[in-house]
């Protein structure tokens, strides 16, 4: 499976997805695939089965303020050195995304962290609860609307 074959395969199965390749002098760059929300889990399944990307590197989110939240996941094919960075955009105000946990077991903790930090509810996640912050914490800190030095008496 080379990067070219991967791009062809993605183009066949997901014609509306946008695929960006890295610069030719940087062969380690991933294929950046921008997907619609309903293609998120099917693409992950295709990446795992057809592209051989069985290694789940990480999953996170980015807050683009008025434009909404981006959910990102990176998967790698360790044998063929092909990496895919999948992205999907949640509409402004939306905070729900299908979960990759049924496809990749590593997404379990990564998505719990996204929920903790951004408030994104992952549908289909087996056990969505806060992972890093206290269970009774209010607010989702990595959103741009949350101040870094929010006070929390009496500790700070």
């Amino acid at each position: 499976m080379t990067a070219d074959q991967a791009v062809t395969l993605i183009g066949e199965r997901f014609p509306e997805a946008q695929v960006e390749r890295g610069a030719p002098d940087r062969p380690g760059d991933p294929l950046v695939v921008s997907l619609r929300l309903d293609q998120w889990v099917p693409f992950a399944q295709v990446a795992k089965d057809a592209l051989g990307c069985r290694f789940f590197a990480f999953s996170t989110a980015v807050d683009w303020k008025e434009q909404g939240l981006d959910v990102i996941a990176r998967v790698d094919n360790l044998d063929d050195r092909v990496s895919v960075l999948m992205k999907t955009r949640l509409a402004a105000g939306a905070s729900s995304c299908p979960s990759l946990a049924p496809v990749y077991r590593g997404a379990d903790w990564m998505e719990r962290e996204c929920y903790d930090m951004f408030g994104i509810r992952f549908e289909g996640h087996p056990d969505l609860r806060r992972i890093l912050l206290s269970d009774d914490w209010e607010g989702h800190p990595l959103l741009k609307s949350y101040a870094v030095d929010t006070p929390h008496p009496p500790y700070r």
């Binding site: 800190p141 949350y146 101040a147 870094v148 030095d149 929010t150 929390h152 009496p154 700070r156």
Partner: protein
């Protein structure tokens, strides 16, 4: 059969669970930690002409024993824990000062808070501190424990462990090298040398040049 004397402090089986026990201990005033009779006797001896020799000698002896055998509870939180482990290890050995790192808080005298305290960990830290028997001391190691350190502005970081427990010695550094921590522990030993038997400490720490 003679009725047993009323106990000042309730015993474990009177409580439903650990939380109730801890709540009681936090509310207990300082006074009833020592027997009132004992305090009266030592004050009497101290005020008797010439009696101060006995009390100060006894204080000096007991404080020497206390400071020569301070057992820290292994409470490593973050990066400073690695330097604390290095202080306990071969090159900077604290066992020559009598400090044996001990895992159980019930059998230790000192808590070296080494690392950042955050809001999730603070109640656990307080719980471990409460489980330590008196007299106990606390050393705040590193800038995170002193004041929140480089993470001070983070939403989840406590701005210094002295917001959670009373601290006796602050050791600055990020992380403080073992020499600094040893300096802090020796300063603590000097403080302990001035510890009064009744639990009230002498106000100023001795000047160090």
């Amino acid at each position: 059969m003679k009725k047993p004397a009323t106990q000042i402090v309730p015993v474990w089986r009177d409580f439903k669970d650990l939380q109730e026990w801890e709540a009681l201990h936090q509310q207990r005033p300082e006074g009833d930690k020592h027997s009132a009779l004992f305090e009266q006797v030592t004050e009497g001896i101290h005020n008797f002409p010439g009696g101060f020799v006995v009390t100060t000698a006894a204080d000096a002896f007991f404080n020497w024993a206390r400071k020569s055998s301070v057992w820290p509870v292994t409470f490593g939180l973050a990066c400073c824990a690695i330097e604390m482990m290095a202080t306990f290890a071969s090159r900077f050995d604290v066992e020559r000062l009598g400090m044996v790192p001990w895992a159980s808080p019930r059998h230790s005298d000192l808590m070296i808070v080494s690392g950042t305290v955050n809001i999730k960990m603070a109640p656990m830290l307080k719980r471990i501190y409460d489980q330590m028997p008196d007299p106990k001391w606390a050393v705040s190691m590193g800038s995170c424990a002193n004041s929140g350190g480089p993470f001070r502005h983070g939403y989840f970081v406590v701005k210094g462990v002295d917001r959670v427990i009373p601290v006796d010695v602050y050791v600055p550094g990020c992380p403080p090298p073992p020499e600094s921590l040893l300096n802090g522990l020796l300063l603590l030993q000097d403080q302990i040398a001035h510890f009064r038997r009744t639990g009230r400490r002498a106000a100023p720490t001795p000047k160090v040049d």
